[in-house]
Symmetry: C2
Subunit: 320 residues, 2 copies
């Protein structure tokens, strides 16, 4: 408790968190397809940041996601980097087989908690998507990998509106029962806010004690970093972010994408939370990414030129 | 304390906060001068949001800030709106006299905690700026108004680097001793982060018990809303924000400005914190503002089209 200004407020944060870079997948999936060389240059720059987990691609229909149609070629190149755990997203058991065959047994499988998004995104309802978790978990573990179930539209759906907490909790419980090693709650359209973050995390953990629960926030409405900080205060240590904030929402043209890796790293490192990620290296990776996608990235920190306190002009403006 | 996932985390927020709209002053001060009619249209739209405090203009050198050279004309029109407390920023006693004479006795006076910014912004060092507080406080109270001292560069300075906490605390103490009714801590260049917010608030309150302390954040590096939420958790209930996030930093061209009113209202109202401000009305005011300044506003929420969960397309993307 706080709110009494006679006592200092204690902002309790963990000594370290574990960030997963999702720019190669969530960031690129809506872009025009990039040449493999550009993707490898991005990966090279991202590995150089010190990040320990990178979602490298997704094994999904090349017709639905042409930007990631080269998943096999990307996967074939991952052996050149050590010290980083690469994973891939899949949308069904067929994708899981492809990923495992390509040498990427650490999988993320997306299940939308809302039927509307599930049908639009994956061509089937939530129950049907949940039913495939066991098979995918078996494919991952059989290949020495792990399975994380990412619950999309965990808070809100662009088709069905607010997702009842009970729906998201049901998916979480079913995922763990079916063999998921970890969960991740996705704010797919960037609408959630801090109090709702806390409430859903609490509800999910009650039914899945001991299961690691990560968060995947979009910054579409300017709430992403506040949501991330709140989740971390609530004990979350696994967060997704994307270099430069790359990754729009297909349902909100022009909107910002994932929370920007450099903004999350800046916020946390300056608050004493170790990320293992070098901020200047992320900004360098953002430059590589910006050149590759050919358009301005949404990250405010990147556009402001980084961490450093800028040298000013002598313009007098009575600024505060 | 928290960080133990066996116990639910309790996000403690106050039932209400008091937002001051600074778009008319901090938002416009770097823009090309607007016609008075455009400013009155902005004010009309801002009053309609339900906000209870509006910083209407500043009485500073028209040479230094040509965009606000019409402060007297703006002040002369404020009587048409009731139920809103209008205030004005001043940079010295001369400005305070002008403001009081114009019928705006509720003043904000900016003192930079760092000498470098103080000299660039106001043509004199911090000590000299502090020495004027008593005279300005007397002018305000003599006219039935109040004085808030906004401590600019409270955390960082574009010229001097990090501002030692002791410097900011010294200004705070001197301001209250000299008659300031309230304080406001300004993150002038948008570099601070949550843990530093908590530490400075704690230090300032120790030396100024019982004095209301507000916060003024810029979103230049994507940390503004997280800083605001942290300050609120720490007991702050007075926050500055700007419609559409208008208001760049003169030392970081292209960077975002003040935290956006609509983003703060969205984050707080959805978290159960009453602001008295109607989100849709702020978005309407942002449209008025965007037309007036003739360029895209930085607010992510505004660009995403508001609060509502958008209706999607049928595009299948395996999005999370």
């Amino acid at each position: 408790m706080h709110l009494d200004d006679r006592d200092p407020f204690d902002l309790v944060l963990p000594p370290a968190v574990d960030i997963r870079e999702v720019g190669m997948r969530d960031g690129l999936q809506l872009e025009a397809p990039l040449p493999l060389a550009d993707k490898l240059a991005m990966l090279e720059a991202l590995v150089a940041t010190g990040v320990r987990r990178i979602e490298a691609t997704s094994f999904v229909s090349p017709r639905a996601v042409p930007a990631l149609a080269d998943a096999d070629q990307v996967a074939a190149e991952l052996g050149r980097w050590s010290g980083v755990a690469f994973s891939a997203l899949v949308a069904n058991p067929r994708g899981a087989v492809r990923a495992v065959d390509a040498g990427v047994p650490d999988l993320e499988y997306v299940v939308s908690a809302s039927d509307g998004h599930s049908r639009a995104n994956a061509g089937r309802g939530t129950a049907e998507a949940v039913a495939a978790i066991g098979e995918i978990a078996g494919l991952a573990s059989g290949a020495g990998g792990t399975l994380e179930v990412i619950i999309a539209t965990a808070w809100d759906c662009p088709f069905d509106g607010r997702t009842p907490i009970a729906r998201t909790v049901d998916v979480a419980r079913a995922a763990v029962t079916a063999g998921a090693d970890r969960l991740c709650l996705g704010d797919t359209i960037g609408t959630t806010t801090p109090m709702r973050v806390v409430r859903l995390l609490d509800a999910v953990r009650r039914v899945c004690p001991g299961v690691p629960v990560g968060v995947h926030f979009h910054d579409t409405r300017g709430t992403g970093q506040a949501n991330a900080l709140t989740a971390i205060q609530a004990g979350v240590t696994q967060l997704d972010s994307s270099v430069g904030g790359l990754g729009g929402c297909p349902f909100a043209p022009g909107a910002s994408g994932n929370i920007a890796t450099e903004e999350l790293v800046y916020l946390l490192e300056e608050s004493g939370v170790h990320t293992g990620i070098d901020l200047d290296a992320v900004l360098a990776a953002a430059r590589v990414t910006e050149r590759a996608v050919g358009r301005e990235l949404p990250s405010s920190l990147y556009r402001a030129g980084g961490r450093s306190v800028p040298r000013g002009t002598e313009q007098a403006v009575a600024a505060s």
